[in-house]
């Protein structure tokens, strides 16, 4: 049990640092950055204590916001995907989730791909609508959401497989 708590805390701090020091300074093609800190929300152990989980997600987003001077956009987007996460867990992992027996190292690549993809698109859609905050720029929001989602998805899949214990 203690091991899980320690793991979660380390992952929280590590991902925030990785995000603000490296991933927010990539600026691929001038403006594309992967938002990898949401891996924390993907990999958070499935528990019944959803209140703590949602609160931690808020803290995660808020600390990223603080470093990037972006008001509360990351906090809002993180809380939103933390709230809808069970829905997509059920959708992508099916019966295994019902028995609370999902282990990320035991899932197939396509299951993980679908799970990540949905949450990333929701997160980025909320994030960029709030960042741009202008209904006349809907095209820009859609464009940024699509491109950044692809970028984030690739980096997230690579990172999670890099640190997974099982041989792929």
């Amino acid at each position: 049990m203690n091991n899980i708590v320690l793991n979660t805390v380390l992952r929280f701090i590590g991902l925030v640092f990785l995000q603000i020091i490296i991933c927010s300074n990539i600026n691929f093609l001038g403006y594309l950055n992967p938002y990898i800190y949401i891996i924390f929300i993907f990999l958070y152990p499935i528990t019944n204590n959803r209140l703590l989980f949602i609160f931690l997600s808020f803290l995660l987003g808020l600390s990223v916001d603080m470093f990037l001077d972006s008001g509360g956009v990351h906090a809002s987007a993180s809380v939103a995907i933390a709230y809808v996460r069970p829905l997509f867990l059920k959708f992508s992992f099916g019966a295994a989730y019902e028995y609370q027996a999902v282990k990320f190292s035991n899932t197939t690549l396509s299951q993980r791909l679908i799970y990540f993809l949905f949450l990333i698109v929701i997160h980025h859609a909320i994030l960029f609508s709030l960042v741009v905050f202008d209904k006349n720029e809907t095209l820009l929001i859609v464009k940024q959401t699509l491109y950044s989602s692809v970028f984030t998805l690739i980096v997230c899949l690579l990172l999670t497989s890099l640190f997974s214990k099982k041989e792929l």
Binding site: I21, F58, S76, Y83, V131
Partner: protein
Amino acid sequence: MQQLFNFFIKNKTFVLFLLLFSCGLSLTIRSNGYHRSKFINSSNQITGSVYGTFHSISQYFNLKKENEILLNENSRLKTLVFSRENLTPLDTLLEQKYDLFPSLIYKNSFALPNNYLTLNKGQNDSIKEDYGVITSKGIVGIIDATSSNYSRVLSILNTSSRINVKLKKTNYFGILSWDGKSPEIAQLKDVQDLVKLSIGDTIVTSGYSSTFPPNIPVGSILSYALNDTEDLYIIEVKLFNDMRNLEHVYIIKNTAINELRALNISDE
């Protein structure tokens, strides 16, 4: 009452979600105005020291180029000094009104619609809000939040940034803002249609505000067009500064700022 409590307990996850989500939303909306995001910003002790630690590593990557920029500026200043060595001010009133503080950029961003920079000088170095920030090439922005050791700059690449500038040739002035698109190009508005413009004209600060001294370079005219009512120009300005690549900056303190403020108050 009992039913109300039951409702909250039953839907506590949703209530918490709603609460935190609206919390995030209100922070976002508040941060969109100038001078409002006082609490969650990168000029506090924690974020400042984290950025400082990582900056001390990453600054080595730019040493060569930064040295070159500093050398160039040095030689430019030397030539200025040599060419006007025997010019002494006639009166103490004509002596400089501005103090310059060198500073390092800890964090820079330019890809968002609202960009901010974090500097390594704060209240302990007598830096306050509304001081201007420049490099040797041109202007960078205005300080909008400070802590004891760090300060945050509202970049000219911020959709709420407004800076008073003028055309160097004709002295007509206008307001420089940014549309959030290219980090190289800002927009100059409110220049009347009777002004003669040509592409490549230099834009400098006007000196009408107490933040920047007059005649600090800003950029050059890239293109211009009339607005919808055809009485004012909208000018695209190519900035002299490459905002994506900044390291050393100067903070400008106007030593006469208190005097100017006192005058403005007595006007009202």
